[in-house]
Symmetry: C2
């Protein structure tokens, strides 16, 4: 059931009609009947909008977002995230709306809303649950709902599905189906774009999976990978950023150690990197909405399941500590150099969590500095 399917051409049982509506052949016994599939994307931020644009090139797409301001901007042809250029946005025809009833006109719904953490670093599924409720109240029978948001394993089936069943009265597997094709968007990365990254997809059964493969296969040039189950796809998504997080955390821990004994960490890494299998990571601040958030999702689930995730949390703590660590080193250096601390003017270069992104949320630069009257903040990118 699993394997990379690099083919994007729809097979005989699937077609895009003259109106650009994606149609799927529903084979029941010997009878073949076409169901119009029109798509609605719920949530039009870093993940949802680029998806809407790509699908908009192939089929009729409704783009729903709860924010009137966002919808207004998008209708005017501007994306504040900078992920989609104004010219590209104007090229595709997407029905942008903040009216949730528009969801009911579609039978392939993609939920792409943020899954952040709360102040206590616990998963905050409220936005996802609200989105599921909105889908629940505006669902057409026979729809497939897929979730792109990062979650911990079993959220799709154990949390989202019951919400969708609630008011609609629809029965899971009979009246609607779900899938989990997790987003792999890398904000600011112009090399690994949405269509150029292999897409992991999963469905609640063979039929839904095949439809999801067809839908995503129509835009993803790099190929679609069928995960054997929704929970495997959920797990795969959440560990990708955890691996990156702990590798950077190790570098940060090494830096803390080497600083103590007067060794330049970058010199050590340059030497170590001459080994064929040494991995090229560096110390640094880990911010953003993925790497610094996802590990807490799996950690929460692991703890609930009875395994305290020592590695994952050790990595998180070190990376969360780095902003304070860097700042205290600067202050110590200032003291050593007889510079006054109180009233000092500080020049901060860079404010986002990584180069060339406009998103200032979850940036560790915010943890590092308190912007006061006398400090000068130069924002890069």
């Amino acid at each position: 059931m699993s394997g990379i399917n690099g083919k994007t051409a729809p097979d005989d049982s699937t077609a895009i009609d003259e109106k650009g509506i994606f149609q799927e052949a529903d084979v029941t016994g010997s009878e073949i009947r076409y169901i119009n599939r029109s798509m609605c994307i719920v949530g039009l931020d870093y993940v949802g909008l680029p998806l809407a644009v790509e699908f908009g090139k192939k089929m009729q797409v409704t783009g729903y977002d709860i924010s009137k301001e966002r919808i207004k901007q998008l209708k005017e042809g501007h994306d504040y995230t900078g992920e989609v250029s104004d010219s590209e946005l104007r090229m595709v025809k997407i029905d942008f709306t903040f009216d949730p009833s528009a969801i009911s006109k579609s039978n392939f719904v993609i939920v792409a809303v943020p899954t952040p953490i709360d102040e206590g670093k616990k998963p905050d599924l409220n936005i996802l649950k609200k989105a599921a409720e909105t889908v629940d109240r505006n669902l057409s029978k026979g729809s497939i709902i897929v979730f792109e948001s990062t979650v911990y394993p079993r959220v799709t089936e154990d949390i989202c599905v019951p919400i969708i069943e609630w008011e609609s009265g629809f029965q899971y597997m009979k009246d609607f189906k779900v899938g989990y094709p997790p987003e792999r968007i890398n904000p600011g990365d112009k090399e690994h774009t949405i269509t150029g990254i292999v897409k992991v997809v999963s469905g609640c059964d063979e039929d839904s999976l095949e439809t999801i493969v067809e839908v995503y296969g129509s835009i993803i040039k790099a190929g679609v990978y069928k995960a054997p189950s929704i929970k495997v796809a959920e797990a795969a998504k959440v560990i990708e950023n955890i691996q990156r997080d702990i590798n950077i955390a190790l570098m940060n821990e090494l830096k803390m150690i080497f600083d103590k004994i007067g060794i330049e960490t970058e010199e050590v890494l340059k030497a170590a990197k001459t080994k064929w299998n040494f991995l090229n990571f560096h110390p640094g601040l880990v911010g953003g909405h993925c790497i610094s958030v996802d590990p807490y999702y799996l950690a929460h689930m692991a703890t609930a399941a009875g395994h305290y995730p020592e590695m994952i949390l050790a990595g998180r703590w070190i990376n969360d500590e780095m902003a304070g660590y860097g700042t205290s080193r600067i202050i110590k250096d200032m003291i050593r150099n007889d510079l006054p601390i109180k009233g000092a003017r500080v020049l901060v270069l860079g404010a986002a969590f990584k180069p060339d992104v406009k998103d200032l949320r979850n940036s560790k630069v915010e943890d590092s500095v308190s912007i006061r009257e006398n400090s000068c903040l130069a924002i890069r990118g």
Copy 2:
């Protein structure tokens, strides 16, 4: 001062004479005088013997080991470790000896002894210290002593150098110099052999470094990387295996989590691996004399320096726990399947810490099984 020097040809000031003795031009003012450099390798195990064999192809080499049994075997042309074949061993002329006074005939001494941990997982530097004492008592003035053993930063200069100064009465930097060109031997790996792996070298000053570069440059085809200091080279060596250790530890932690909720870890990894930057690690037992030992070296130093190395030790604990974890899963499965535990016959396939090595020490298979009369042990490799 640093950079990869891929050239192995000696320059004008260095030559190998007709007796195969490596000579170095010692330029003092306008007077050029050649010093015969003959080499002695102290410690002829997994690291020392392959080195002796490679150098033996280029120059006169004395191979010293404290074990009479090992010297006897080597003289008979057999290496029990399997790293050097009998035919290769017989091809090169090495003076094997257990007489430490032979060291005094050389002025380039390579110390390649094991640096294990004790039962409390603390660095056990006794063998290294004993080797330094032996060198101390048998040193020729003007020698360069280099250490290949894995240590934590500053061991070479802060521990080994004072020992060498002790009985000899020689003064560091004036009467002898030191360097640290750490071993990168990968037992059982026929692809990454000693001459095909870039060699990190370091010396206590520019002169010693140049000599060490020449000496190693004569055998290392992959190139020599000059680290800017001994402590940087020590740090680079010790972190290489730590990185591998924590990456495997993360996979082990993920396996423990996914086992709890009934997800096949390998299925998750297969899906995650379709992302361009996901690193290909797998859960497993971490044994051997490098990966499962080196992290404790840096951890010891870090703790002494005032930084408790949370990441590094979290990784170690998980990996050290894996043998017990695997065994308890087997026992649970046996109970579930109504198999008797007491008196059960167990077939264990594989005993070494990795495939195709003969070294049974530090294998986690030992932790997993207690070999009793009724169990059958099949050793692979």
